[in-house]
Amino acid sequence: MTFATPLGLLALVAVPAIVAIHLFRRRYPVRRVAGLFLWQNPRQTPVEGRRRDRLPITTSLILECLAATALALILAGARLSSADIDRHLVVLLDDSASMAAVDAQGISARDRAARRIRSEVERLGASARVTLVVSGERPSVLAGPAAFAVEAQAALNNWQPQAAHHSLALGVRLARELAGTDGKLMIVSDLMPAARGEEEVPGALWASVGEALANVGIIAAERTLSPDRGQGTVSLTLGNYAGAPQSRRVVVSAGGKDIVTRYLNVPPGSSSVALPIPPGLPPVRVALSDDALGRDNSVVLAEPRPRIVAVDNRLKEGRGREALANALAAVSGITRAEQSHLVFVDGGDLDRPGDPGTWRAGFGRPPEKWRTAGAPRDFVGPFLLEKRHPLLLGVTLGGVVWAGVSPLAASAVHPLASAGDQALIGLRSASSAGESPAFLFNVDLDSTNLIRAPDWPIVISNIVEMRRHGLPGPERWNYRVGEWIRAGLGRDPKAALRSRSGGVERAIPAGQRIEIIAPSPGGLLEILEGDDVLFELGVNFLDETEGDLRRQTTADTGSLADGSDLRADAGVTSDPLFWVLLATAGLAIMANWCLLPASRVHG
């Protein structure tokens, strides 16, 4: 037995109610007496009610409970057959933010989608099952699998599309799996498959409920700080998808106070605008005036606080030291200090213990203990590079003569670049907790042409960035929704780590590094350690594709396979159990009210 509307089973509470009525106010058979006063005593049962006593199983009680049960089952849509399982509709909802775009009447594609789905479900009948799948990079089930229509309706009412542009392929695959062989598949989007760059889905109804609209949105945003000039800047890239210049007001506010207000004439296509703001402000909110899509009209930008890497060039005087100094001069975000995060030393000094927290890069002949017998050699290639290592990103060593390579013991370093069996660049990992890693550049800087090759500043920059990556703090301060946010603490956390965005808090796994996905719908994201705010980051919806609403349309393609099946016998009256229950309830009520009164009268 299945139930089309299980909430109707709540009517079964009538059964205990009837029992309670019989228990506390029994309908005894009538007996007429001449001297009622002779019967009255403390044991009597008043008409108004009575306390606990043995429940008499009377015909009236049985009939009333039977009628109540039958009516409750009717309300619950009880069915003997499972034919309604065949009427399983799986709906894939396009969760793209463009579905929330509203027209001049304030009606969004999401509203039209909900209305369309509601009408399809009504066509199927109250007993049909519905599964709602929400598309996205990670598709999820909004209602179901095979939920009742009322449940699906409730879930649909709470659905608010807000995802960035994505493919529906994963959602279609999940929806197909949920539909199985008997279910019908329906895809609801605001674009037709071709306009969306998707392939048509055979055997499915693709319902596009969009409407072409003009829109202006923020498609990129950046907040920079110039300590030298003592000024911050908000740089916006605006997308105008209206086909004509549009006037917009942009407001930059912080802490509830408007900082900058400017009226812009946004030309069609992409355009940029830079808004100077004072430095040191908390995260600012940049908002455009309202239009069709509100999702791309505002961003929250946190002020970047760059992680400065302190470096120290301790190479001996010579070409190498000079070349390193030139390369470091081209790297931003560094400073020179003796108590540094990164020191460049001669290779022979790498066997000495380094300062805690200080990475070392050694150039030249490696320490005696690391070498094996043999004279230094020069190599012109080929070079074997571990290109996925961050130190060698963008490094090719094309045309480089790697000179002065000393033979190394096999376990001395982990080779990152090698020529033949000789390690050219090696990583000496930390052997203890307090020791920092060391890089060995097994090269003679005075004789190699590496320092004149394009790879030289790249590898120096890479090693600086690697060190920067190891410093406490986030890599960036502003992210797009769905991007990975990575931040280092530089220590073990003292309390539980949490993220908080829009009033929603999520736990973060404890560790020295934090890696989370920028949560939707975005806004200010706080990283908390206990009750202390570690970082304030900006997470924004910056999606050029979703902001372009000019291709949205309303049309259908495909069909729900055999639609006639969906419309047949949709009502609960098609099931014989309905009529059995109806007859049972009717007969029980009739018997209770017509037959029992005659038998109740006593003498």
């Binding site: 007996r31 001449a34 044991r43 049962t45 008409v47």
Partner: protein, 281 residues
Amino acid sequence: VPTSSIDWTAVRAASPFKIALPRTPVGGRLGERLGAGTGSSLEFQDYRGYAPGDDLRHVDWAAYARSELLAVRLYREEVAPRIDVVLDVSRSMALTDRKHRAFGELAALLACACANTVADARIITAPALDPRRLRRPEDIETVLQCEATLSALEGGHLPLRRRSLRVVVSDFLFPHDAEALVPRLARDGASLSIVQLTLHEEAEPDADTGRRLIDVEGHGEIDMVIDEPAVRDYRARFSRLRLSLANAARRTGARFAHVLAETPLRQAARQLAATGILEAA
């Protein structure tokens, strides 16, 4: 129960009785019975001095010869006794067909007894109604409808006549104080006979299941389980009610009989005769 169902032949066959008369003089119109006052019977009662106008035939000439005083013989008066039959015609007397039938037959029996007594008999059914003269036994049928919601005994002052023979028929299944009710009925009467008519199930009910008890005269209703303890309590209360009536009757000099509706009429008549309410005609 239609009153025409009374089998008068059977009733007359069962009632060779008349209302028992007390040994003390009774009041009434001129008739066969000795009255309380002086009259014209043959029974000498007293002397008194002659007064002008006295019937000279009553002058005791022998006494005048002895004493030269004119004395007149006084004789007891002869009266026809008055009988007031008080019938409870409330709904409780027609609780069942059997009880209604028994009530009708018992009333008819008493009506025949009144006729056999050659008395001035009246029927009283309510304080507010004028008594109905019982000229012939069949007249009793006109008052046996049993539709009243109150017994005649529950109301106010009954129109009982002084020095009348009073016969009361009721089930007495209404709240009352027998010590007050019986003397009120007996006050200024020549005699009082009380007949309590009930069903057997009213006197000795059996255990039953849960029932809604509804007072037939509209005095409320209750739900209760009629189990053995409830029946036991009821029987004890009914016994106290009957005993209080009997005791009050004994103290007042009245006669009391409890008749069950299931009792055959002939046997009921003998029961009334045994208690002194009826006597052989």
